[in-house]
């Protein structure tokens, strides 16, 4: 055992000091990518290849700045509102359904196969139907996001409601807990832990659904802006809006990862299975 651990230490010694080399090389990599992008855009502009619309990074940055000092915040607020409402509705209904299907044996056997049959139909495939049902407004997008989050979180909720550690269950019996007490202090906390992790995993699915829903039913939000600038062939603005989507997704993920590390530190590492 000791031998294995000695051998597992990093084999290549960094030549700059670990921190500095990470930052420096990362900076060099980003710089190289930007230089390559600039050169590529110039080569394509002079009639190089099939793509004749690749703006240089400076142009995209300028467009990003213009958007950030203008309509970005209004559009972002629209998209985030859809996302947050849908996410809360989806996670809450998945918790309730998960507890029911996980703890009531016959309900689980009867209805879990139905859930499993619906799960492969991604929420994205529901977009046209949702437009038929709810139109182009807020309801339709909230429905889609809630569905996306539900389909991910339900799996975690069922799992969490079933996975009660046996020593805790025996302790509860020994303490003479009744059904309600067991539910409150044993089953519910375990389920909510898994729901929290599932909600983090569902973050990107939900955010992706917001994008597609807004692209198709384009009346407001970042996605609608993206379609609008696309239809005016404004490539720098398209790329700037994409960057906004990326930054927003990154910030949400970082926020939730921090939250998860604080609230359920013992479960943090195993959470990245399904992206």
């Amino acid at each position: 055992m000791a031998v294995a651990e000695a051998g597992a230490t990093p084999d290549r010694a960094p030549w700059l000091g670990p921190r500095a080399s990470v930052w420096l090389l990362g900076f060099v990599g980003a710089l190289l990518a930007l230089v390559a992008w600039t050169l590529l855009s110039q080569w394509l502009a002079t009639g190089g290849g099939v793509i004749n619309r690749l703006p240089p990074p400076t142009k995209v940055a300028r467009e990003l700045w213009r958007y950030a000092t203008g309509d970005l915040w209004r559009d972002l607020a629209f998209s985030l509102r859809v996302f947050v409402i849908g996410w809360l509705v989806g996670a809450a209904s998945a918790t309730v359904c998960g507890l029911l299907l996980g703890r009531v044996a016959w309900a689980g056997r009867v209805f879990l196969p139905v859930v499993e049959a619906i799960r492969p139909v991604s929420s994205i495939a529901w977009v046209p139907l949702s437009v038929v049902w709810f139109g182009f407004g807020l309801t339709s997008k909230v429905f889609l996001v809630a569905l996306a989050v539900f389909l991910v979180v339900i799996v975690y909720a069922v799992d969490g409601s079933r996975r009660v550690p046996s020593d805790l269950a025996r302790t509860a019996t020994m303490l003479g807990m009744n059904g309600w007490q067991r539910f409150r202090s044993l089953i519910l906390p375990g389920t909510l832990t898994e729901v929290l992790i599932g909600s983090r995993v569902a973050l990107m699915a939900g955010w992706g659904t917001v994008i597609v829903a807004e692209l198709v039913a384009a009346d407001s939000g970042l996605g609608a802006h993206l379609i609008a600038v696309q239809q005016s062939y404004d490539v720098p603005a398209v790329m700037a809006t994409m960057a906004c989507f990326g930054i927003a997704g990154f910030l949400m993920n970082a926020l939730f990862s921090t939250l998860e590390r604080r609230l359920v530190p013992w479960r943090h590492d195993s959470a990245d299975v399904a992206q």
């Binding site: 090389l25 990599g29 492969p120 046209p128 994008i211 692209l215 997704g249 990154f250």
Partner: protein, 251 residues
Amino acid sequence: MIGFLHKRVLLPAAGVLIVLAIWEATVVFYKLPPIVLPSPWAVMATLAGLVGTYAFWRDVAVSLYEFVAGYAIGVVLGIAVGLLIGEWRLFRLTATPVVESLRFIVPFAWIPLTILWFGTSFTGKIVLVAYAVFFVMVVSTARAIAHVEPTLTRVGTMLGMGPWRLALRVHLRAAAPTLASAARAAAAIGWIAVVAAEYIGASAGLGLMITNAATSLATAVVIAGMIVIGLIGAGVSALIGWLARRRFDDR
């Protein structure tokens, strides 16, 4: 045997029947017009009718072609770059910021740009699927390589393997089961990226089929299309799972 039949066949069948009955009852009770919600029978009849048409199979073939081409490119490039990131520290440190910042731009956000660049052609969707699959594979390959049992590396080194043979013969093989499950997850994402791209700009494909049906309020066709999309998605995922199991069961 009876218990198995009861638990695995009868109860799930009961569940499906209950859901279909609730669906049918809702349609009948509220007298919903087929534009809002067609009855399950109408959907099945529509599906049966679609299966007999040439246009339906052309849409299926177009979507599948775009998916398979993009998926193959994305998996191969993704594993290659992921392997480089996992094995070569210098490359890992330089590439990480670029990979990490692109990773958060979900593939769907690329759809309008691929349309500007490639029009409504197949190429745009192939690029999109490749992009979606690529990032899933890069991240999981790099992670799997980093978690390869260090004993294996030492055994390989002891046997006189150089870094290339170590990477290809030992690390990649040790990581293969993880890569198989990543490939499965990537297939689900890639398939749905095709459908989403076809909503916004396409000349054929299942996504276009159901948006067109939605525009003309042919709701039965929309639901039938969703079922087909779900079946193909599940089928692709099962196929990759089956291939992986056949390959790695002996471990």
